[in-house]
Symmetry: D2
Subunit: 422 residues, 4 copies
C-alpha cells in the first residue's frame, strides 16, 4: 500500500470530523473514494435498521444535512442516505467462499482541537475545520485503514480470492450508539468472520494486543417524565410533579442491588427538571447508564432500572418515555481468531501482547456477537498499537501515522488466510 | 325511665368489655334484653356487609368466640351472628310514617382498668372482668341509653306513634372500623332521620353540644408488601426486597403534596419489615392513616397513597396487599336537626352549646351521610355532656351515671317530635 | 397634579423596563426627575445593606451597567450606585413631626411585550425597548405615583407640613428580593408610618381594597451541592455524588411535615445536576421556595429545609451553599391606617372594599413589618384598583392611566392627615 | 487421646447449649475440666475488653446468670466472670520459646433441636436441654478438641516442650461478636502463632482444607433513632419523626456506591419503627450489615454507612445511637502455616485440599490478623472435614464424632513442630 495515499485520506478525513449520526461529509468522502475504486456502497436504510437507532437527535441531523449541502455534498447522495450516515462496501470474488466482515467507525468526538503550535495537524494544515468537533479518538485512522483494505482487494488478481468481504463504515460509535442499528439491518447475518480493532489506547507502536479483556456490557438510557404544572401556593394538589418523580427514580436507581455473580454499575449522570422556582415541575429527565461484567448482569441492571422507572411513573401519575441511547456487549474473542491475529502480527514484526484489559465499552462487540451467534461465526476485536500525542478524547490527541500501512497489512494478511482461493 | 334499670344495664355491660369485632358477650347481653322487651334483633350478615368490614382479625374473632362459648353464650345465637357482632332492633308502629335510625357503639378500648381504690367501678364491683379491655370511652353508656329508648318505645300507647325506629348497636367504632360495613348492609337506606351522640368528651354534665364541628374525614390503611428473601452476601440480586419497598413507600407517602383547598394529613405510624440482619427481607408492612378537612381532600389523599404504593410494588416487583382498616367522613348536621336538639335540650333544662370543635374522627358520620345522601334525610351527631373521672381512653375513666336518663329523655323527646302520630 | 406630566413619566419609564437589580436606566430617570424637583436622592449602599441582597447575579449586573453606559447613563451616577439600583428621596419639612415612608417598586418582568396592534403602548410608541423585559406588572405606574407625590410635596407651602417623608424607590420586588436589603439599611428605622400599594390585580378602576388579606410569608432558597466527580465504571467509590445528594434532598424537602396551625407550602421548582451520562456528578443545585400562612409557619418550613439539606451534605460528604434568593412576610394592616385609607378613598369617590384575598407574596411587607416592630409604627398595604388589559405578567398587560392622579391624590391626602402642621 | 473422654465431653457440652454472651453453664463446665487438669483459667475482664463487646444484651445476660445459679453454677465462679463468658487456659512450659494461641468458639445457635427418632443426640440422650438453643454448628466439637489438647499438653514430659500455649475458649462467635473483645484484651499480643478451625462445613470426614479462601470482611450495625412523638392530626409539625429518619436512612444505605476494587455488600435486614397508626413515631431502628472483599472495601462501606446515618440524624433532628453488633475481617493464611497443616494432615492420612471457598465470615480472623500484625506472627484458619447429618444451623445437624481425636492429633502434631524443645 502506498503510504502517501493513506496519509492523504487520513488528513482529509481528519479535517472534516463529524459527531455520531451527522457524518454526512465523512460518508460522502468515503463514498467518493470507494466509487473511484469501483465499489457501489450500500447506504441509508439498507444498512441501518431505523428501529434500533440510538441517541440520534433529529434537530442535529437536519442541521448537519444543511451544512453538508452548503459544503457541496451531492443531493442525490444525501437522498439515498435518507438521513442515516455510514456506508458498506462489498467485495465479491464471484466464487464460493466465506464472507468476512470488517468494521471501521467513522464519527468524531465533541472536542475543540488544540491550537498548540506543536500539534501536527495544525502544522500540516489538516486541523479540524469544524468547531468543537475533532477526530480525537483515531476513527480517522480506522476509516483510512478501511479504504486501504478496499483498494487492496480491488488490486488482487482475479481467482486469487474466494468468498466476499464486507467493509462496514459504521456511524456513531461514541456513546455506543451505531452498531445495534447496523447489526439489526442484517448486514452481517451471512458472515462467517468478523474483525474490528482500535488504534492506540492500550498499546504502543509496534505492539498488537490480540485478546483485549474486560469489555463491559452497557446500556445507556434516557428516562423522561411528563406531568402537569400547577401553582405550588394555590394548587399544590393539582400538579403532577415530574421533579419529584425524577428524584425518586434517581435515588431508587442508585440503590439497584449488587449482583452476586460479578461487577455491576449504575450511574445517573444528569438530571434536569423544572423551569421555575414557583411552578410545580411538569417535565424532568434522567441520563443514565448501567454496566455489567457479563450480559446477564447488564440485563439484570436494565430490567431493574426499567421496572423502577415504570413504578415511579405509575406511582406519581407521570407519563414516561424510555429511550435506549446506546449499548454494547462484552465479547469473547474466538481462539482461532486470536491465533490468526497472533501469527499475522508476528510475521509483520509486531510484538504480540496476549491479553491486556480494555476496561471500556465498544459497540463493535454487538456486530461480533451477532456473527458468533447467527452463523457460529468467528470474531475478534484487537488493538493495533500506536504511539500517541495527548490521550484519547483530548484536544491534543494525535496518533502515529506510520501504523496505518501496518494496520492495512495485518487485515489483508488475515484476509489472505481466510479467503485465499485454495 | 327507671334509673335503677339503666344503671344495672350499664354496670353489667361495663363488666364485659370487648374490643371491636369481638363483642360476642356484649351482643348476647343486648339481644337478651331486647328479646325480653319483645324485639327480634337482626344479626350477622343481615346488618353487616362483610365486604366492607375494616380492621377485623380472624384469629382474634375465633378466640373471642371460644371465650364467649366458655362464658355460656348461646351457640345458636353465635351461629346466627356467624362471626359478626352487633345487632339492630326495629320498632315498627305498623302505621305509615318516617323511619328514624339511632346508632349506639358497643366496643371497648384496649386499656387495663385501674385498681385505684377511688375508682367507682371497682368500689361497686363492676370493674372489667377482661384483662386489658375496658369501657374507657363510654360506649357502655351509649348502649344503655339505646336499651332505655328501646324499652320506652315498647311502653308507648298503640296509635301514639307512627313510622319506624331502628336502633343500631354498631361494633368496632374504635379505629372507625364498623360503620361502613353496617352502612353498606343497607340498614339505614329507608331512614329519613339519623341521630347519634357521644357522652362526655367536650361537655360537662348539664351541657349539650348540638352542633359539634371539625369532624375529620379519615381512612386507615395497612399496606403489606411481599417479596423474596435471599442471602445478601451470595445472592443480593435474587432477593425482592420488601424492606426497600416499604421504606421507599413510606418516604413517598410522607411527601404527598399538600392540598390547596384545606387541611390534609398523612401519618405512617408503624413500619415492620425483615426478620434477620443477614437475610434480604421478604415481607414488610406499613400502618398508615390519611385525613382531610373534607371528603374531597381525604379522597385525594387516598388516591395518592394507593397510587404511590402500587407504583412501589411495580417498581420493586413486590406483591402488594392494600387493606382499609377504618374510615370516617365529616358530617354537616342538618339545620332542622340542630334546631330540634336545641329545643329538646332546653326543655330538659340542659345548657345548649351551639358549636364546639370535636377535632377527631367518628364513623357514625358514615351512617349519617348515607341517610342524607340516599333519602335527602336529616342527620345529627351531638355531644351529651358528662362530668368525667379521668379522661377518655385512660384506665381511670368514669362518667356520670346520672346523665343516662337525660340521654334517654332527649332521644325520646326527639322521637316524639319526629314520629308522633298527628 | 397635572395628568399629562404623570402620563409622560409613566410612558418613559415603561419604555425602559429592567429586571430586578439591573434597574440602572430606570434609577437614572428617577434621579434625574427628583433632582429637577430639588431632591438629593440617596443611592447605593446607603439604602441597600449588601449582606441582605437576595437573588442578584453579578454577571447580569455587570452587563446591565455596560448597557446603561451605552445608553448614556452618567458614569458618576453609576459610581455612586456602586452596582446597586434604587434610590430614596427624602422630604424634610424642617419641623418636628413624624416620619412617613412610602414605597414604590421599580423592576419589570421577564416578558416580551406584545406586538398586538391594539396594544396601547405599541400604538402610542412607548412599548418596551428591551427584549424580553416589560413593565407587565404595573411598577411603572407605581414609580409614576411616587414621582407625583414627590412633586406635590415640593409644591406645598412652607409651614403647612411637619415631619419628614421618605420616598423609597425599591429594586427587585419580583421574586421578593429587594425589600430585605433596603430594610436592613435602616432607612425606615425612624419612620412612624409606612404605606405601600399595588395597582390593579384584585380591584377595578374606582375601587380601593383597604385591607387585602392572605399575604403569604415566603422564603426562596438556592441550595448548591459540590462533590467530586469520578468515573462511574472504574471508580464509583471515589466520587462524591452531588446528584445523589440533590435528589435525596429534594425528596426530603417535599416531605417536610404539614403544620398544625395553618397552611404551609414547599416547592422544589428546579433541579440541575450532572453534566454527562458517564461521569459521577460533582455539582447539583435546587431552586426551592417555602411559604407559610404566618411567620411562625414559614420559619418552621425554613428551619426544616435548612436542617434537611445540611443533613444531606453531611451524609453524602458534600459541600453545601445555602443562599436566600428572596423573602417576604405577612402583614397585618393597622386599624388606624385602614380607617385612614377608607376615609380618604371615600372622600375621593372611590368604592372602598374592606377585605379581599391578595393570595400572593409582596416584600413591601418586610418594610411595613419593620416599621411596626421598631417604632411601634403603623403600616398599611392597599390595592389601588385599575381596569386592566391582559393580566399581570402577560405580554398584553396594560393598566388604566386615569388612575395615576387618583393614586397620587390618595397618598397625598393621607400625608395631609399624617403630617399637616396643626 | 482416649476417644471415650472426648465423646463424654462433647455430649455434656451438647446438652447445655447457650447463645453468645450467655455461655455461663458452658464456661463452668470448661473451667471445671480445665481445673481438674491443673489449669487456672483466666476469666471475665482479664480476657474480654468490655469496650469492644458486640451484640450483647444485658437483659439476656442477667436472665442467663439467674438460670446458671438455678442449675448450680458456683457463685464464686460467676463473680469472677462478672457477666462475661469464655475462658483462657495457659500452658506454660517454663522454658523460653514461642507462644502459640489456639481458639475454640463456645456458643450455640438459636434453633430448637429435632425430635426426629433418627437423631443421634436424641437416641443417646444428650439432646439439648435448653429450648430453642442447640449446638447446631459444631462448636461443642470445637470445645471438645480444645479440652483434648489441654489434657495432652499436661501429659507431655517435662522438658519436651518450650514456650507457651494459650487455649482461647471464645464466646459469641455467631454474629461474629466475641473475637474483637477478646483481641482487644491483649490476650494474643504476645503470640507468635495462631491456629483456629471449623469442623464440617465444606469438607467431609477424612479431608482437611488447609487454605480456605473468600473470608468476607463484615461489620454488623444497629442504628437507633430517637425523636419525639406527637399527634399527627393536631400537631404534625411538633413530632420528630424517627420512622421518616429510619426509612430515609435505609434507602440511602442501600444506595451506597459500589466499590471499584472489588465486591461489596450492604443489607438492611430489619426495620422497626413506630408503635401506633395514629402517633408520629418517636423511635425506630435498623439492623444492618456491610461486607467487603477486603478490609479496605469493608472500611469504605462502614464509613459511608456511618456518615449517612449521621446525616439523617442531623437532617431530621433525631438522636442517633450507632452500635457495632459484630465484625470480622478477611484472613490470609501464612504460607508456612499452610505448609505445616498440609504436612501434618498428610501424616495423619487426611486428604489435603489446598483451597476451597469458605464464602462466609468468621471472627477468628480478627485474632489471627492481630497476631500477624503485632508480632509479625503466623496464622492459619483451616477446615477439619466431617461427615454431617443435616446442615449447619438446622435442627437435625449432627457431626461425625470420630473426627474429634483426629482434630486433637492435628493440633498437637502442629504444636510438636512449633514448640518442641530442640
Amino acid at each position: 500500500m502506498e503510504v502517501d495515499q493513506l496519509i492523504k485520506w487520513r488528513r482529509e478525513l481528519h479535517s472534516f470530523p463529524e459527531l455520531g449520526w451527522t457524518e454526512f461529509v465523512t460518508t460522502s468522502i468515503l463514498v467518493r473514494e470507494l466509487k473511484l475504486m469501483g465499489y457501489e456502497p450500500l447506504l441509508g436504510e439498507s444498512i441501518i435498521n431505523t428501529k434500533f437507532v440510538r441517541g440520534r437527535k433529529k434537530d442535529d441531523v437536519e442541521k448537519a444535512i444543511k451544512m453538508a449541502i452548503d459544503k457541496g455534498v451531492d443531493k442525490e447522495l444525501l437522498d439515498k442516505m435518507n438521513g442515516f450516515t455510514g456506508c458498506v462496501a462489498i467485495y465479491d470474488s464471484g466464487k464460493p467462499g466465506p464472507t468476512v466482515s470488517l468494521r471501521f467507525d467513522i464519527d468524531c468526538v465533541g472536542v475543540q482541537e488544540t491550537d498548540n503550535e506543536n500539534h501536527l495537524p495544525l502544522i500540516n494544515g489538516f486541523k479540524s475545520k469544524n468547531q468543537n468537533q475533532m477526530h480525537a479518538c483515531g476513527h480517522d485512522g480506522h476509516m483510512t485503514i478501511g479504504l486501504g483494505i478496499a483498494k487492496w482487494l480491488k488490486q488482487q488478481q482475479e481467482n486469487s480470492l474466494c468468498g466476499r468481504v464486507k467493509l462496514l463504515f459504521q456511524p456513531a460509535e461514541e456513546g455506543v450508539r451505531g452498531a445495534q442499528a447496523m447489526a439489526e439491518s442484517g448486514i452481517v447475518d451471512d458472515c462467517s468472520y468478523f474483525l474490528a480493532s482500535h488504534i492506540g489506547f492500550i498499546a504502543k507502536s509496534g505492539e498488537v494486543v490480540v485478546n483485549p479483556s474486560n469489555f463491559l456490557c452497557t446500556t445507556k438510557y434516557d428516562f423522561r417524565f411528563k406531568g402537569l404544572s400547577s401553582h405550588p401556593g394555590k394548587d399544590p394538589h393539582v400538579g403532577i410533579n415530574a421533579l419529584a418523580g425524577c428524584c425518586t427514580a434517581a435515588t431508587q436507581l442508585l440503590a439497584i442491588p449488587r449482583h452476586g455473580k460479578g461487577m455491576s454499575r449504575i450511574n445517573v449522570g444528569v438530571i434536569r427538571a423544572g423551569e421555575a422556582r414557583n411552578v410545580i415541575p411538569a417535565y424532568g429527565e434522567l441520563q443514565v447508564e448501567v454496566r455489567g461484567e457479563t450480559e446477564e448482569i447488564n440485563t439484570f441492571m436494565c430490567q431493574q432500572a426499567e421496572r423502577l422507572v415504570k413504578g415511579v411513573a405509575l406511582g406519581y401519575g407521570l407519563d414516561l418515555e424510555i429511550e435506549i441511547m446506546g449499548e454494547a456487549v462484552d465479547l469473547t474473542n474466538d481462539k482461532e481468531m486470536v491465533q490468526l491475529l497472533s501469527d499475522v502480527s508476528k510475521s509483520n514484526n509486531q510484538t504480540v501482547i496476549e491479553q491486556r484489559s480494555f476496561g471500556g465499552s465498544e459497540d463493535a462487540t454487538i456486530l461480533g456477537r451477532r456473527v458468533q451467534k447467527i452463523n457460529n461465526g468467528k470474531a475478534i476485536y484487537f488493538v493495533l498499537g500506536s504511539d500517541l500525542k495527548g490521550t484519547h478524547h483530548q484536544s491534543d490527541f494525535d496518533f502515529d501515522e506510520s501504523i496505518l500501512p501496518i494496520g492495512v497489512k495485518i487485515y489483508t494478511d488475515c484476509l489472505l488466510k481466510l479467503i485465499s482461493k485454495k
